[in-house]
Amino acid sequence: MEKSIIIAGFGGQGVMVAGQLLCYTACETTDRYVTFFPSYGAEMRGGTANCYVVISDEPVGAPKVSRADYLVVLNDPSLERFRDAVVPGGTVFVNSSVVTHDIGRTDINVVKVDAGAIAYELGNPKVLNLVIVGAIIGYTDLLPAENVLQTAFKKLGAKRPEMNPINEAAFRRGLEIGKSARSGE
């Protein structure tokens, strides 16, 4: 099984960390193949930042896909840019705290995650990306949830151990949203 994910937002929303957290988990806690490709080369500050993640049981072909199984959009410009980059039957995860535009497609699933608001409620807007990662894992079972959490502690907690509790809270809130979205389908 091969699954591809595009995560898109603007610089500072934790796009790269979200993608890398999935990848480090796959690399260090499973024997699956995984690639990460960032795209922020010549983007302006405030412009879109995005990354491509592929997790597979087979060696990965292209690290950058034209259409992904899952799309995460953290703001409206990302939705505009990547709306068509989801396979039919795929799923888009929307940061509904700031995304106001219409999804505009009826052939894909939509999981709305009020990630920005949840992060504020938890006391740190930076953990928005952990809410989103939780939602992806809850909805897809792409990776074992506890492995992702342990990897977050290891990678993000190395420099900021005081962030571990709030990172965990954010991840678990997202996880529940993802799980209930899947059971509701």
Binding site: C23, C27, F36, G41, P59, P63, S66
Partner: protein, 360 residues
Amino acid sequence: MADRVFMKGSEAIAEAAVRAGCRFFAGYPITPQNEVPEYFARRMPQVGGVFLQGESEVASANMTYGAAAAGVRAMTSSSSCGISLKSEAISWMAGARLPVVIANFQRGGPGIGTIQPSQQDYFQATKASGNGGFEMLVLSPSTLQEAVDMTAEAFELADRYSNPVLLLLDGFTGTMMEPVSLPEPLSEERIAAIRASKTWAATGKRGGAQHKVMCGPGLDTRLSQQAMNREAAAMYAKWREEECDCEEFMLEDAEVVVTAYGISGRIAKSAVKLLRAEGIRAGLIRPRRVHPFPAKVYDSLDFSRIRGIVCAEMSIPAQFATDVEAVVHGRTAFAYALSSGGDILDRSEIMEAARGLMRD
């Protein structure tokens, strides 16, 4: 798993170089390979090596020439238009027969092109990397694991033949991350022994063999120039027999052959597997070295069975494909999947080209 580390390509290659005993790196910034000098800048002081950021590509390439002439395993890297600037020094390295590893993380071209990944430098890498008609072994990995392994291999080959070796990479390989297993580093004793074996090295002491330094108007007589070039030509001929390296995948019963190298090679391989799942008997030829070109692999295909060959590369116009065409010489049909200017090849284009050959 435990021994896997998730690394960025440019950093994995730099670390592999350090572990292969590289103790000198000089470079000059250019996207998309800036993490290479950045990594060496941090890493070289830890192993007693030297990192230098030159004032230009020309300077950094000549600094690398100097380090190699002193017997140190040395490396430089750049991207496309930066490699063009280094080409003078690369020709001099070949002229002096110095072991140097050069990495080209190809971006768009010609000219300054784009900063996005491409494979537009195939001709430059394999036909004319500078004046004088010299050749280099050109290694082109498809995965980051291969990139790590080939970096170590490049240093061994450079020393074996006392000649520059080119790692032909691309912006994706430099920027993407993937799990790699790194080899054990060479011991300090081994590194010292390798350096000591280079009796021609300029060490500041008397004695030893003739230094590998080109000076003045070149060689003293036309005869010595001829002798040197004859020796080089014999080495290049030997490479064609002994140093080809090519992956052959599912060719036994293949009706359509997909061929690609470098980053496009991995995409081609995934396309071949999907074509097989569709019931199309596809196979893959993936040169791991694009010079010497593995002509025999193409030449020995069963053309009575094969309906055509799909050449896939991130170059417009096609360059790698011309070497394949020259060997095949009209014995089967060709189709192409090409991209340029930063768009990675889409495997669906390769698959559609293969289906087209099967329909024709």
